[in-house]
Each structure stands twice: as structure tokens, then as C-alpha cells.
């Protein structure tokens, strides 16, 4: 009975807190709605007529839809998300700032409202105050779209943008609430939130950069837009999937972002409520209620400044410059952070314990990486343990070999795959030789800017189900001087990739020419000094062409690693009949995991003198 009464009371407290906060701040929510209207629907109203009347007069409905989605992605990234984040900070200061003044704490903590309903009620109000303008403006956006012949049924990408904005603004609000609970002043709350949001992505980026430039084979390089880069920084994360959505032109935000931020929001919420219940009211107007955020932020800022300046000075591959930069940058940052948080230098002396801790952590980590990270640098599986080897890289995988669905989304790639045991042995032997050669040159390792280039990646799929991945630089041709001649300054891994590329299995498995039949060819387009021609030959000619083309590939007489070896006679583009009916390709890329249709882009290549294709072109008279 007591618990039922208590539960009813808590619900009432939550409801009253929610309604009060909603009423108190509804004006600001209305302002957000207005500004968001100006940033999204109003701009779309201005942009969409331009598309119809000036840019593309005869635009089709699907193109109009695509244009509409793309503009929304841009407007979201440049205007809507920053606006929402600014208002999230504003709302959090208004909703949780009471914790930071002794007088307001006297009022709110003496009210007959528990801390959990007080926190939840305010969070729910913040959620409503942000979400309502977002929903309203996206509804208007759909109406605008409908007025300009946009196919609304195809606009699931816009729905995903909207859901993303709602989710990340909620996560940001909860994150700010947690910061409010942990800090004693609103100033500290805001700088701490900004500190984590800037510090964490930079820390991951610079830490990754450091590892990449020291540890040979390191293959987990973080790219812009990856989840890990912004996993603890909602403000930074807010932009990432929007950018990636635009990049892939699919309009759909990566599900992993949704899942992670949903889980992380729940974790943040639990932490905020737990800590708020333990927070001492008397912490108002003091530095921190809980020391952990201060320690984390100071560590992040110290590390980021140290690594940033260290890496900037260490660009010349001089370790001493790196260390001078690291020490000076981190020390300066530590002093600044301590002075800001402690409002002076009184506690500076004591704080050097934490600086010492940072240096200790750094030097332990540094020692691990320069000594090969417990054998990571030389780890190559035994040939008999390997089921298959895939090779990826910027000189290996052409975009021509991307597989698409009917909407143009990239769904897979034709990746060269080695399954033959003899070939596997060749690769593992070459790989072992290369890593040991690298170690023999200089160990412990030091900065090597070449390592920052992940030109090719070897992925071992092991029989035990595990995967081993290593990435290396290569500069087989002197691309810097465009001489098309072998480089005078090869990396330690050039021989490895050359060995791999010699394998017929590599050539066959990585080129769409080997996955199609002659009847899959729609047309062959030639380009000879800008003299473009298109041919749709009969089936017999297609057979002849395909055979000649495949032989040239096996002979290594086609474009090698996407760099021209000599001046070509022609450029040709083989256009396929999409969707591809041949199931060989589908099976190779997806196994039995994909039942949809696949589409291939034209396969473009160069035709050199004295090749089978050049002879056939002459024979057919296509050169005239």
C-alpha cells in the first residue's frame, strides 16, 4: 500500500514538474520552431522553385525527390543540427541551472518533489520542447515537398534524418544533464560538455594517428564519420551520420549510430539519475560535485594538446621533436584546464599528480606500440590456418567493381579473393618476409610517415572463423612525378603487393570481366583521342571480345593498379545489361545472403598496343 501511494506520488511529482517546465520554457521552444522553420522549410521553399524553373527545367519526379533529399541533408548538417545543439545547451542551462545556485537549490530541493521525478520531469520537458519544433518543421517540410512533385513515399531518408535529430538532441540533453549534476556551476557545466565533445573525438583521432604512424600493419584507422570517433561526443556525433548519408547518397542514416546512441542515452540517463540522487545540495557554486568528469576532461584536453602539438612538430619523423611538442603542449593544457576549473592556481601543485598520471599512461602506451604491440606487427597466420585472403586498397579496388541495388545504393564490392592453398602459401610467405624485413631495419619502431598510407589491406579469413587484417603503404609507381616508372623509393611492402598481383586468382576474382557471360554485355564504348564510339555487337563478337579482354587481364596488359603503365591506344567502357542475370557474381560477393537484383557500373579500362583487345578492335574496324 505504501509503495503504491509512493508510486502515485512520484508520478504526480513527475507530471507536475514536466508541466511546469513545459509551461515555463514554451516561449523558447516557439523561438526554436521559428528559427528552424527559417533554416529548413523556408529555405526549401526558396530552393525548390529554382530547381524547376532554372536549374533543371525538365526535371523528372525521381530527380526532384533526390534533389529534395540532398538539400535537406545539407540544410540539416549546416543549419538545423547546429541550431538544435545550441538550443539543447540553452534548454539544459535553463532546466538544470537551478542546481548551480545555492538560493535556487534552497527552493527546489525543499519542495516535496523527489530528485528522480524532478530530473525526469525536466528531461521530458526538454525532450518535448526540442522535439515538438522538429516534428512540426519536418511536417511542413513534407508539405513543401509534396507541393514540388517530390515522391514523399521515397523520402524515408528524411524520416531517418528527423529521427536522428530527435535521438541525438535527446542524447545531448541527457549528456548535459549529467554534466549539470557533476558540476557546481553552469559555466563549468558548459565548458565540461564542450570539453568532452571536442576532446574525445580529437583524442581518438590523434591517438589513432599516432598508432598508425608507429605500428606497422595497423589496420583500424578511424575515418571521419566512423562511430568510434564520436561515440562519447553527442555534439560531434550529431553531424557525422548526416555527412555520411550525403556521402553515400543513400539518404539513410547508418543504423549503428541509432543503436549506439539509443543504448548510450539510456546509460547516460541512468548515470545522471543515480548521481543526482547522490549529489550534495551544498555543491552548488563550488567547482565539481563529482571529481570524475573533471579528471576525464583534464586528461582528454591534456592528451589532445600534447598529441596535437607533438604530432605537428614530429611531422619530420624526428621523435625528439614529437616529445618536446608532447610535453610542452600537454603541460600548457594541463595548467590552463586546472586554472579554469579551479579559478586560479591554488590547487595547481596538487594537480600535477594527474599530469604525472597522464605522462605515465602515455609512456606505457607508447612503449607498447613502438615494440610492436605484443607481436601485432609480425603476426601472420600459418598458410594452413587460412581459409581465404581478400585484398583491398586504393590501387586495387576500382569503383567500377562496386555492386549497386536498383536505387543506386552501394551494396557490395568485387574484392580479389585468394582461396587456392598454393597461392595462400605464397602470400603468407611474402607477408612474413616483409614484416620481418621491416623489423630488422629498425626496432623499436619510431615515426614513419609512410605508415600513415593504408594503400592496401590484406584480410585473412581463418578456418577458426576469426579474421586477421593488416594494412600497409606501397608506392609501386612514382605517382608523385607522374613518370609511370617504378619508384626509386619503394616501401618495405612493395614486393608483397607485387607478389599478390602476379597471381591469376587475384586477377580473376577481382574483375567483373570474369563474372559475366558475353550476353551480359550491352555495349562497348571506345574513346580514341576524344573520338567516342559505341558498339552493340552480335553475340559471337561479344564472345570474342570477352575472351580477348580476359586474356589481356591475365597477361597483365590492362590498367595496372589504376595507374597507366604506358600510353593507351584507347579507353573502353564495357556497359552491362543490368540487372546482372548471372548468379556467379551474387554468390561470390554475398554467398546466399542476398536475394535482390544487382547492378554493375560500366567496366572502364585502357587498351594498349599489342594486346588481344587492340587486335580485335582493329580486326572489327572499330578503330576507324
Amino acid at each position: 500500500m505504501t509503495s503504491t501511494t509512493s508510486s502515485i506520488s512520484k508520478k504526480k511529482e513527475l507530471k507536475e514538474t514536466y508541466l511546469w517546465a513545459l509551461k515555463k520554457h514554451k516561449g523558447i521552444s516557439a523561438l526554436l520552431a521559428l528559427l528552424m522553420f527559417m533554416a529548413l522549410p523556408m529555405l526549401l521553399i526558396m530552393i525548390m522553385p529554382n530547381l524547376k524553373t532554372r536549374v533543371y527545367p525538365a526535371i523528372a519526379r525521381d530527380e526532384s525527390t533526390k534533389y529534395f533529399i540532398e538539400r535537406i541533408a545539407e540544410l540539416n548538417a549546416f543549419f538545423v543540427v547546429p541550431l538544435i545543439l545550441i538550443f539543447t545547451i540553452l534548454f539544459s542551462a535553463l532546466l538544470f541551472g537551478y542546481m548551480h545556485q545555492k538560493r535556487s537549490v534552497d527552493l527546489f530541493h525543499s519542495l516535496p518533489v523527489g530528485r528522480t521525478p524532478m530530473m525526469l520531469g525536466r528531461l521530458l520537458a526538454g525532450f518535448t520542447l526540442i522535439t515538438a519544433p522538429v516534428l512540426l518543421n519536418f511536417a511542413i517540410t513534407f508539405i513543401v515537398g509534396a507541393c514540388y512533385s517530390v515522391d514523399i513515399s521515397q523520402c524515408y531518408g528524411i524520416v531517418s534524418y528527423m529521427l536522428w535529430i530527435i535521438l541525438i538532441s535527446t542524447a545531448s540533453l541527457i549528456f548535459m544533464a549529467l554534466m549539470a549534476v557533476c558540476t557546481g556551476t553552469t559555466f563549468d557545466m558548459i565548458i565540461s560538455a564542450l570539453g568532452v565533445n571536442l576532446g574525445y573525438p580529437l583524442f581518438i583521432f590523434l591517438g589513432n594517428y599516432l598508432i598508425s604512424s608507429i605500428l606497422p600493419g595497423y589496420s583500424n584507422q578511424v575515418d571521419i564519420g566512423s562511430l568510434i570517433l564520436t561515440a562519447l561526443s553527442p555534439f560531434a556525433a550529431a553531424f557525422m551520420p548526416l555527412m555520411r548519408a550525403n556521402e553515400f547518397n543513400s539518404g539513410i542514416i547508418n543504423q549503428s549510430f541509432f543503436i549506439w546512441w539509443l543504448i548510450f542515452s539510456i546509460i547516460l540517463l541512468a548515470a545522471a539519475i543515480t548521481l543526482y540522487n547522490r549529489r550534495k545540495s551544498e555543491c552548488a557554486e563550488t567547482g565539481f560535485a563529482f571529481p570524475l568528469p573533471k579528471t576525464i576532461i583534464r586528461f582528454l584536453i591534456t592528451a589532445v594538446s600534447g598529441l596535437g602539438i607533438g604530432l605537428a612538430l614530429g611531422e619530420s619523423d624526428e621523435p625528439i621533436n614529437f616529445f618536446i611538442g608532447l610535453i610542452s603542449g600537454s603541460l600548457a593544457a594541463h595548467i590552463v584546464v586546472e586554472a579554469v576549473y579551479s579559478r586560479g592556481f591554488k590547487k595547481l601543485k596538487k594537480s600535477f599528480v594527474y599530469y604525472g598520471l597522464f605522462l605515465a599512461v602515455f609512456f606505457v602506451a607508447y612503449t607498447i606500440f613502438v615494440t610492436g604491440c605484443f607481436g601485432y606487427d609480425i603476426k601472420v597466420p600459418q598458410a594452413e590456418e587460412v581459409e581465404s585472403i581478400q585484398v583491398e586498397g586504393r590501387y586495387i579496388n576500382s569503383d567500377d567493381f562496386n555492386l549497386h541495388d536498383k536505387d543506386g545504393r552501394t551494396i557490395g564490392h568485387i574484392t580479389p579473393t585468394i582461396k587456392d592453398s598454393k597461392n595462400i602459401k605464397t602470400i603468407t610467405d611474402s607477408h612474413k618476409k616483409a614484416v620481418l624485413q621491416k623489423r630488422s631495419k629498425k626496432f623499436p619502431y619510431c615515426f614513419d610517415s609512410d605508415l600513415l598510407y593504408n594503400d592496401f589491406t590484406i584480410i585473412y579469413k581463418l578456418k577458426n572463423g576469426k579474421t586477421l587484417k593488416r594494412s600497409y603503404p606501397c608506392n609501386i609507381y612514382d605517382t608523385q612525378n607522374y613518370t609511370n616508372s617504378p619508384t626509386d623509393n619503394p616501401t618495405d611492402y612493395n614486393n608483397l603487393i607485387l607478389e599478390i598481383k602476379k597471381l591469376n586468382e587475384f586477377k580473376i576474382s577481382g574483375n567483373s570481366a570474369f563474372y559475366i557471360n558475353a550476353e551480359d554485355i550491352k555495349s562497348i564504348n571506345t574513346d580514341n583521342n576524344n573520338n567516342e564510339k559505341s558498339f552493340s555487337p552480335d553475340e559471337k563478337t561479344k564472345e570474342l571480345f570477352l575472351k580477348a579482354w580476359q586474356q589481356d587481364i591475365l597477361d597483365g596488359r590492362t590498367k595496372n593498379m589504376l595507374i597507366e603503365m604506358e600510353s593507351p591506344l584507347y579507353y573502353i567502357a564495357v556497359e552491362y545489361k543490368n540487372p546482372i542475370k548471372n548468379n556467379k557474381l551474387k554468390e561470390f560477393v554475398f554467398g546466399n545472403n542476398y536475394n535482390g537484383e544487382i547492378y554493375l557500373q560500366p567496366n572502364t579500362t585502357s587498351v594498349y598496343a599489342d594486346t588481344k583487345v587492340s587486335e580485335l578492335i582493329k580486326e572489327l574496324g572499330w578503330d576507324k
Partner: protein, 299 residues
């Protein structure tokens, strides 16, 4: 009934309340007096459920108020600098409290507004310090609290408003059995209003007593002797403070008026009279005993 048992509250290394224990009966007006930093405001905040005790407990009707909405709904705390929600009028504040306090009385609110002659539609931030305090008092009383906790409530109120406040509080206490705890340095006002006082010093309670009993139990003696007897002659008296100027001796002595006068007369004074102490004089005397006096501070 408020029961305080071994209550301790620390702020880092500073002990604000050091194992204090006492109780306050229902329907009483309890004056909290003490030196600056004695722990009066800390005690009120702990009682209001704002601060969590580090050890010991404070109970309102046997319930700890910290994180207990049921206990908190029966009390109202007006801090030394009352806080109002920015941009709010008195009516807005009333609406705010009405949502939260189950016993909120709109009728009482309106009555009090007319008594204090405040415009409930004016923004509180534009009001004077005294009017802001009146606003806080109006809201507090409209919640119909069982326990009213007031910190320096007389600050900024003009003499007429002080009288009005005292009258209203006395009325509420007698009508509703409300318990009031007032922390104040204005001992003159407390003397008029309180029936009990507690003297705080350095986190401890020097005493808590019925005010009449307190005042009857300590007296000021003025006597003229020729010649002045040795100080040891006064030893039978429970002397708190002694001051001799020529043939005039001023004493602060514990005990009833009759007891003291009888003992003084035994020493054959030329003139002797026993006068009751004001609360302020009691405060100064007791604080001197605790080592908190001007001479000690100056030296």
C-alpha cells in the same frame, strides 16, 4: 514533533553541526540564536531536507525529510535570501506552489495578499527586499505548512510588517498547531515571538530551553557595597559574569530572583536590585561563557 539525534553535518573538513541533539514540540515557536557560522542555517536546511545529514538524524513526526516528499509537503523553508523563479510574479509563484503542495490554500493566499497589501501581478524581481520577503511569507503560509522554517525572516521588514508577521505567525500557531523555527540575530523580535530558544555555537547547541524559564533562571544584579566584600564572598551565587566599578558591582547570576536577592542581602549591600535579562543580554552572557565575547575576539 521535531527530534534531532546526534546530528552531524560537515562541509569538507568544516564541521557545521557536531552531534547535536534536542527536540522541538508541536505548536511551539522555536528561536534559533547563535554566533555567525554557528550552524543555524545549516540546521534549517537539514531540517528542510535540502542537506543530507552526514550522521545522526533529524525527524519530523518520526520521518526523515531528506528525499521524502511526504515530510516535505508539511514544511516550508524561507531561506535568508529567498529565491524566486526569474520573471515570475507573486501569482506565478502561487501557481507554481499550488501544483506541488497538496495543502495549498488559494483563499489563504488571497487573504494574505490583501493583508500585506502586495500586488500579486507585479514581477517579484522589481519588488523591494522587504516586499520580496513578504511575498515569500505569503507563499509559505498559503501552503498551510505544519512546520515553518524561517531564516532571518525579519531582515528588510519594516516595524509594522514585523508586528504583522508576528501576529500572523502567532495566530497560525494557535489555530493550526503549526510549529515555527526562526533563526535570527534579531533577538528583540524573537523575544516577543518565541516560546523556546536554542543557542547554537560552533556547530553545537549550548542550550535549548523554554524562553520564560530561561529568562527567569538568569538575572542581572546591581549592588553597592562599602566596603566591597571579597569576590569569594559571592561564591554561593552561580555567577556568569562579574563587573566591579568602585563600590558598584554588576553580576549576571543564574537562579531565581528570590534566591539571588536573599544571598546578596546576606552580604549587607547599601543598595541591591535584581533585574531580568533581555534575550540579547542572555545571549551575550552565555556566549561569554562559551568564550565568544568582545575581549576574547579583540585579544
Amino acid at each position: 514533533m521535531i527530534a534531532v539525534k546526534d546530528l552531524t553535518k560537515k562541509f569538507d573538513s568544516t564541521v557545521a553541526l557536531d552531534k547535536i541533539s534536542f527536540s522541538i514540540g508541536s505548536g511551539s515557536i522555536f528561536g534559533l540564536v547563535g554566533s555567525n557560522g554557528a550552524g543555524k542555517s545549516t540546521f534549517l536546511r537539514t531540517l528542510a531536507g535540502i542537506y543530507k545529514p552526514d550522521s545522526g538524524e533529524v525527524l519530523l513526526d518520526e520521518i526523515s525529510p531528506f528525499e521524502n516528499s511526504e515530510a516535505k509537503s508539511k514544511l516550508f523553508f524561507i531561506s535568508d535570501y529567498p529565491y524566486f523563479i526569474p520573471q515570475y510574479t507573486l501569482s506565478d509563484m502561487a501557481n507554481f506552489y499550488a501544483r506541488i503542495y497538496p495543502n495549498w490554500s488559494q483563499k489563504r493566499f488571497e487573504e494574505l495578499c490583501s493583508l500585506f497589501t502586495l500586488n500579486s501581478k507585479s514581477k517579484i524581481s522589481t519588488m523591494s527586499k522587504g516586499m520580496q520577503r513578504q511575498s515569500a511569507i505569503i507563499c509559505a503560509l498559503a501552503t498551510m505548512p505544519k512546520y515553518l522554517l524561517l531564516d532571518e525572516v525579519f531582515d528588510g521588514l519594516d516595524p509594522v510588517m514585523r508586528q504583522l508577521l508576528k501576529k500572523i505567525i502567532s495566530g497560525e500557531v494557535s489555530e493550526r498547531d503549526m510549529t515555527v523555527i526562526i533563526a535570527s540575530h534579531n533577538l528583540r523580535e524573537l523575544e516577543d515571538l518565541c516560546d523556546h530558544v536554542g543557542l547554537f555555537h560552533k556547530g553545537g547547541v549550548i542550550f535549548d530551553r523554554d524562553l520564560d524559564e530561561l529568562k527567569l533562571g538568569i538575572n542581572k544584579v546591581q549592588a553597592v557595597f562599602k566596603p566591597m566584600p571579597a569576590l569569594s564572598s559571592f561564591e554561593p551565587l552561580d555567577i556568569v559574569k562579574t563587573e566591579i566599578r568602585g563600590s558598584l558591582i554588576n553580576l549576571v547570576v543564574r537562579g531565581t530572583k528570590e534566591e539571588i536577592l536573599n544571598k546578596i542581602n546576606e552580604l549587607n549591600p547599601i543598595f541591591a536590585e535584581v533585574l531580568p535579562l533581555t534575550l540579547e543580554e542572555v545571549f551575550i552572557s552565555e556566549m561569554e561563557v562559551a568564550g565568544y565575547d568582545l575581549d576574547n575576539i579583540l585579544n
